[in-house]
């Protein structure tokens, strides 16, 4: 089975083929054909990923680097000693990502066939989706950070294209802006905000190359050195024990990828210096800088403070896009990158602290905002931001396996929730159409199919959606034994371990914030479930809503199963029955083969029970609080939290999204605009153009030119020199032409004269000598 590992390029090229087929021939296929090709491409990629998983298991989990046929030399600048091949890396981490991307991706492709039914740009949508897979696979399989960056930028492009997919929707909002404009504006926002993060990644890449002289994570023939911190220390001891080995190791550094180099250099206990021209910086400082720049990139792509503002707006895209790109896969790229570089983060304590703070703060901040949202997808968007905060915090805490574990389970249940919300929106739209058809004279009121205030009572109309949604909610809220419970608990347990065992402040900080965030999570999710599914329909659309087609509900059901059982991938040790059934932290062990600093989390009974208690309490509170609202049969106007004087201000803040956009506008965009207006109007126009150019350059020049042109030019140039230079060639030509009479005798005479000329010329030196001139 090891040979199957060389098939890894297929995970990129199969979706690429699907994309190309749909791109060029999609318009001839019809919806079925296009959907079939899109789903098949994604499904085959999943099959390949599954084969890779099996192959890797047979290969003792040892990573393999594969050169794609025909593409092995990607960038090669011999003079700069720069050799960046396009190599695929098959290790446990990349295969995990491949499985998630293609597995969840296939389900979402399938769902999208139903969801996008009837859209005029149906083929284009699948072209973009498959293109996204191409780039996402490039991102997770690249064996060097630059190849990863290619995928990174590519998924950003696809995200941009898909957020603005409905750029031409004509519905006009009350504030006079068309929906299409809002959609494309959201796309632009995502692109621009991500630029900032990408800038960080690029700088990190440059620094990495400067420091380590290579961009490869690991070279093709090496395995990750060391493992847990202790092993790395042992390794350093071994190195230090004999000088011989040191020499050999140092010699070997040139053949190492930068992660192994960092591992060796940072754990040998010595100070290493990196030259920047005349300045020397310690390697530790450089690694801190690299990791902080990576954090900036992750903040953009994985929607962390301060760059998360694009993700809620990105919900303007079609719901399958929200599920695939903006919940399950692309937004986790930042987490993936940081886990891939876990060696660097492990040794950069300062960066890890900042990462923890950013992640935990993002988690609680987004969880708080989600409570105050009315848009069904906005709630989920902020929930995604919050959960990404959990993952980032886990990276900061050193719980790399937990971060990826949460990434995987989150991919399951958040994709489920988004798809189910799409099903809800679909049902509401359908019901709205239906009610319109029956009442022709119905007045044209503004109807927003995503507004939870107009929903209610969908439980009976859409049973499958309801049940799967509840499963997703339980998984997200961290209810035992759903997937989220295990992954979230591992992060919480690790933060306690960091605080208690290692005595680090970030541990307790993260623990407090994350538990609170978990409480928020359970609360806003059950608030959503209550408002959407319980009680009576509050709008005609809800009354006429019907369950979505099987094409859409089937992926929901599959994802629901995964959301229930996904957590057992990584059951902690020492659990009665469950450990026996599913084994102890299998996922962590599996991941540990490529993530050298992965470690299994402990299971803390009291913490798990406490977190569970918080979640259950929050659900119960939400149920009580929103019970009254659900009985209404008309669109509810306010939230009980807003009516309560004690919480109204907090709710207003949450509803206003903590004024992030407004603050950015006021403190960044506005000053920027003022400054650029000042530069444009005052400096450039008034000073430079009006004053400097006009008064200092133009007027003297004009006056001088007038003087010159009036007297000098008209008289001397025009009359005199122009006659010589312009009329001259013409006159010469006219006169010389007259010699061309057509008579051979004249021609022969000319040759004779020419001969004399040549004779004189060639003998001129001698003639001169003879004449003594």
């Amino acid at each position: 089975m090891e040979n199957v590992l060389t098939a890894v390029p297929l995970v990129v090229f199969i979706p690429l083929a699907g994309m190309l087929i749909n791109l060029f021939f999609g318009k001839y296929f019809g919806e079925f054909g296009v959907g079939f090709i899109g789903v098949t491409a994604s499904g085959l990629a999943f099959v390949v990923a599954a084969l890779l998983w099996a192959g890797l298991r047979d290969n003792n989990f040892e990573a393999v680097v594969v050169n794609p046929p025909l593409f092995d030399g990607w960038i090669s600048i011999p003079s700069a000693n720069l050799e960046i091949p396009w190599q695929f890396r098959v290790d446990t981490l990349s295969v995990t990502m491949m499985l998630v991307v293609s597995g969840v991706g296939t389900l979402i492709h399938l769902y999208a066939v139903g969801y996008m039914h009837g859209d005029p740009r149906f083929p284009r949508f699948f072209v973009y989706l498959n293109l996204f897979l191409v780039f996402m696979m490039t991102l997770v399989t690249g064996n060097n950070i630059l190849m990863m960056f290619v995928g990174w930028e590519g998924v950003g492009l696809c995200s941009y294209l898909l957020i603005g997919f409905w750029f031409d929707k004509s519905r006009v909002f009350p504030d006079g802006v068309s929906e299409g404009w809002k959609n494309s504006n959201a796309a632009r926002k995502a692109m621009i905000v991500n630029r900032i993060g990408d800038f960080g990644v690029l700088l990190a890449i440059f620094l990495t190359f400067w420091t380590f002289g290579t961009l490869d994570f690991y070279k093709p023939d090496e395995q990750p050195i060391g493992g847990h911190a202790e092993e790395a220390e042992e390794h350093a001891l071994v190195i230090a024990s004999t000088d011989e080995v040191i020499a050999e190791e140092e010699h070997d550094l040139s053949n190492m990828g930068f992660l192994n180099q960092a591992q060796v250099l940072l754990s040998d206990g010595e100070e290493h210096q990196v030259k920047f021209g005349s300045v020397d910086l310690s390697l530790k400082a450089i690694v801190t800088l690299i990791t902080l720049l990576m954090l900036l990139g992750a903040a953009g792509k994985s929607a962390q403070i301060p760059l998360f503002v694009w993700l809620p707006d990105a919900m303007a895209g079609p719901t399958p896009v929200s599920a695939l790109i903006h919940a399950a896969t692309m937004v986790t790229a930042g987490v993936y990158m940081m886990v891939r570089a876990n060696v660097l983060f492990h040794h950069a304590e300062v960066s890890s602290f900042i990462v923890t703070v950013i992640g935990a703060t993002t988690a609680i901040m987004a969880g708080f905002i989600a409570v105050g949202q009315w848009d069904v997808k906005k709630v989920l968007a902020y929930s995604t931001v919050s959960q990404l905060g959990f993952m980032v915090a886990a990276v900061g805490l050193g719980a790399y396996a937990a971060a990826i574990f949460h990434l995987v389970t989150h991919a399951f249940f958040k994709a489920l929730l988004f798809l189910a919300s799409g099903s809800i929106i679909h049902g509401m739209e359908h019901g709205h159409h239906h009610s319109h058809d029956s009442h022709h004279a119905h007045h044209e009121e503004e109807f927003d199919p995503q507004d939870m205030r107009t929903m209610g009572g969908l439980r009976r109309k859409m049973p499958i959606t309801y049940w799967t949604y509840v499963i997703g909610t339980f998984a997200l809220a961290g209810i035992f034994p759903f997937a989220g419970f295990w992954s979230k608990d591992e992060i919480l347990a690790d933060s306690f371990r960091v605080f208690w065992d290692e005595g680090e402040l970030k541990g307790i900080f993260a623990l407090m914030l994350l538990i609170t965030a978990a409480g928020f999570t359970a609360f806003y999710m059950w608030r959503q479930v209550s408002l959407v599914f319980y009680g009576e329909p509050r709008h005609e659309a809800g009354e006429h809503a019907s369950e979505s087609s099987l094409l859409m509900t089937l992926p929901l059901m599959i994802l629901a199963v995964l959301s229930i059982f996904g957590g057992f991938l990584n059951t902690p040790s020492d659990l009665p029955l469950l450990t026996d059934l599913f084994g102890a932290h299998k996922f962590t062990d599996w991941l540990g083969h490529s993530v050298v600093n992965a470690h299994a989390g402990e299971f803390l009974w009291w913490l798990a029970l406490g977190a569970l208690g918080v979640a259950v309490f929050a659900i119960f509170a939400a149920r009580q609080l929103y019970a009254d609202e659900t009985t209404s049969t008309v669109r509810i106007t306010g939230d009980p939290l807003a009516r309560n004087p004690q919480t109204s201000q907090a709710f207003a803040l949450a509803n206003a999204k903590l004024l992030w956009d407004e603050m950015y506008f006021k403190y960044l965009e506005n000053p920027f605009n003022v400054a650029s207006r000042f530069l444009a109007d005052r400096v450039d126009w008034q000073f430079w153009h009006d004053f400097f150019h006009h008064n200092i350059v133009y007027l003297p020049f004009d006056q001088g030119a007038k003087g010159i042109s009036g007297n000098v030019d008209k008289v001397v140039i025009d009359k005199g020199i122009m006659m010589v230079f312009a009329r001259g060639p013409w006159e010469i030509a006219r006169r010389v032409r007259r010699v061309q009479t057509g008579f051979v005798r004249i021609y022969a005479l000319t040759i004779l004269l020419g001969t004399v000329l040549v004779m004189i010329a060639i003998l001129f030196p001698d003639i001169r000598d003879i004449l003594g001139i």
Partner: protein, 503 residues
């Protein structure tokens, strides 16, 4: 009693394979032509012969196969080196394109005679032999082999007065100038006691210490050879036949002649002057004839470019243009007389000739394409609005015009670049500056052609599209652009071309 007859290996016969094949092929075809009624086949067979010869020449130039040894052949009469190979290639490509653009023209003007193609091949063989001559007698014979078919070809449209007149003028003046050449050869022989360039150069190198008579003989001989060859390449003041002959001859003949005669003439020029007669003046370090050639080059550049401005007929315009371009190659030739620059000057001349061959044949082919059956319709008025009627034709013509001007990304620019660089290396800065200035002047009349095609409207009727001529145009236009875009092709080809025997 008699020495044993030399074997093929002694004679190094295979080194001359391209020209041998071409001559034999033409001779056989001359007989076969009597029995081929459809002249299309004669044209096709001729093209095949040229093609075979070209393939072998390319093999030789590219060092792909060892076909004969580099060095002298035929007991010193023939020189086979990279210079020879490149000249062969340029001459053969000219001949191939010449055949391509001729067929339909001859057909529609009722001139489809088989001997046309055969004569064309013979003259190509002449040009090739001029490039490979290592002996003054060879130079003269091959010059005649080049010239005589061209005399006939000019007059092949026999009942027509212009054609007859051009053939007559060309022949008379050609004979007149050939006599100068022969006289020059005789004087050089008198001075050096040999016709072999390798032996002449030994005498020429040591001449300054010997008596004056011998030196004068050599110098006057060199001058007379310059006259004779200068006539062939249309250098001022031996250029006066050019406009009349070019205008009178059938247009494809003009196209071919303008290229191949220059290739042959300049090849011989380089062989005789740079290889054979690098006579050093007392106290100077450049050959004596450098100043003479500088004067000729300057005159040629100025007159060709200036008079071209006045021309109304495209064929006459291109005739003066070809005079002007002779001037640019003369710059390279003059640079070749400076020690140490000889090779790079020869290479520059070859590059320029290759670029010029594509461009100029192409330009004349466009004229052939728009010419009417009664050989009118070649004036500036007839191309007005051509871009609307025949956009591709006008596009090709624009490419040729820009290339002739020397605009970058065309072959013409590369040629000029090489020539001016050689001039700068040789310290002939004034000549290089003059070359640049006259290039600027030349833009005036070249761009006027483009202007007329694109920005004027006219109602002249243009003949139908002609298949083979179009393929010739495609080759020339593509060649012009490719040589301009990928200059290293030519650079690799000429890199090993070298003329100097003595260092």
């Amino acid at each position: 009693m008699f020495p044993a007859p030399p074997t093929f290996e002694d004679l190094n016969v295979w080194a001359a394979l391209p020209v041998i094949i071409l001559s034999l092929w033409a001779s056989v075809l001359l007989v076969a032509d009597r029995f081929i009624n459809n002249k299309f086949y004669v044209a096709a067979y001729s093209l095949l012969g040229v093609g075979i010869s070209l393939v072998i020449a390319l093999f030789q130039a590219g060092d792909l196969f060892d076909i004969g040894e580099s060095g002298t052949a035929f007991e010193g009469m023939f020189m086979a080196d990279q210079f020879t190979y490149v000249v062969n290639i340029v001459a053969l490509i000219s001949a191939a394109i010449g055949i391509l653009i001729s067929y339909e023209y001859l057909e529609r003007t009722k001139l489809d005679r088989g001997e046309y193609y055969i004569l064309l091949m013979f003259s190509a063989a002449g040009a090739m032999l001029m490039g490979s001559s290592n002996n003054l007698s060879m130079i003269f014979i091959s010059l005649e082999l080049l010239s005589i078919p061209l005399y006939i070809l000019s007059g092949i449209r026999r009942p027509q007065e212009e054609s007859e007149e051009s053939a007559m003028k060309y022949f008379l003046l050609g004979a007149f100038s050939s006599s100068f050449l022969v006289y020059g050869i005789a004087l050089v022989f008198g001075a050096a006691g040999s016709l072999d360039l390798g032996e002449i150069v030994v005498v020429a190198q040591t001449i300054s210490e010997q008596e004056a008579t011998q030196r004068y003989l050599l110098l006057i001989g060199a001058g007379l050879i310059t006259v004779g060859l200068g006539f062939k390449v249309a250098a001022v003041p031996f250029h006066m036949w050019t406009p009349d002959v070019y205008q009178g001859a059938p247009t494809p003949v003009t196209a071919y002649m303008s290229s191949v005669a220059k290739v042959g003439g300049f090849a011989a020029f380089l062989r005789v002057l740079v290889t054979g007669l690098p006579i050093i003046a007392e106290g100077g370090d450049a050959a004596v004839w450098v100043d003479t050639l500088q004067i000729l080059a300057a005159l040629t550049l100025l007159l060709g470019n200036l008079v071209a401005i006045m021309q109304y007929d495209l064929k006459r315009l291109l005739a003066y243009s070809s005079i002007a371009h002779a001037g640019y190659i003369l710059i390279a030739l003059a640079a070749g007389g400076v020690p140490g620059v000889g090779d790079s000057a020869a290479q520059a001349a070859l590059v320029y000739l290759a670029a010029y061959a594509f461009t100029n044949i192409g330009a004349f082919a466009v004229v052939a394409a728009i010419e009417k059956d009664d050989s009118t319709g070649t004036t500036m008025d007839d191309i007005k609005g051509l871009a609307v009627k025949r956009p591709w034709l006008a596009g090709a013509m624009s490419v040729f015009m820009f290339s002739l001007t020397g605009i970058p990304l065309t072959a013409g620019f590369i040629g000029k670049f090489w020539v001016f660089r050689a001039a700068m290396d040789a310290g002939l800065e004034p000549l290089a500056v003059l070359g640049v200035l006259t290039s600027a002047i030349s833009a005036f009349y070249y761009v006027r052609v483009v202007w007329n095609m694109y920005f004027e409207t006219g109602d002249a009727v243009v003949p139908e599209r002609q298949q083979y001529l179009t393929s010739g145009l495609v080759i020339t236009a593509a060649g012009t652009l490719i040589l301009g875009l990928l200059p290293f092709i030519l650079e690799n080809l000429v890199r090993d071309a070298s003329l100097a025997i003595l260092r």
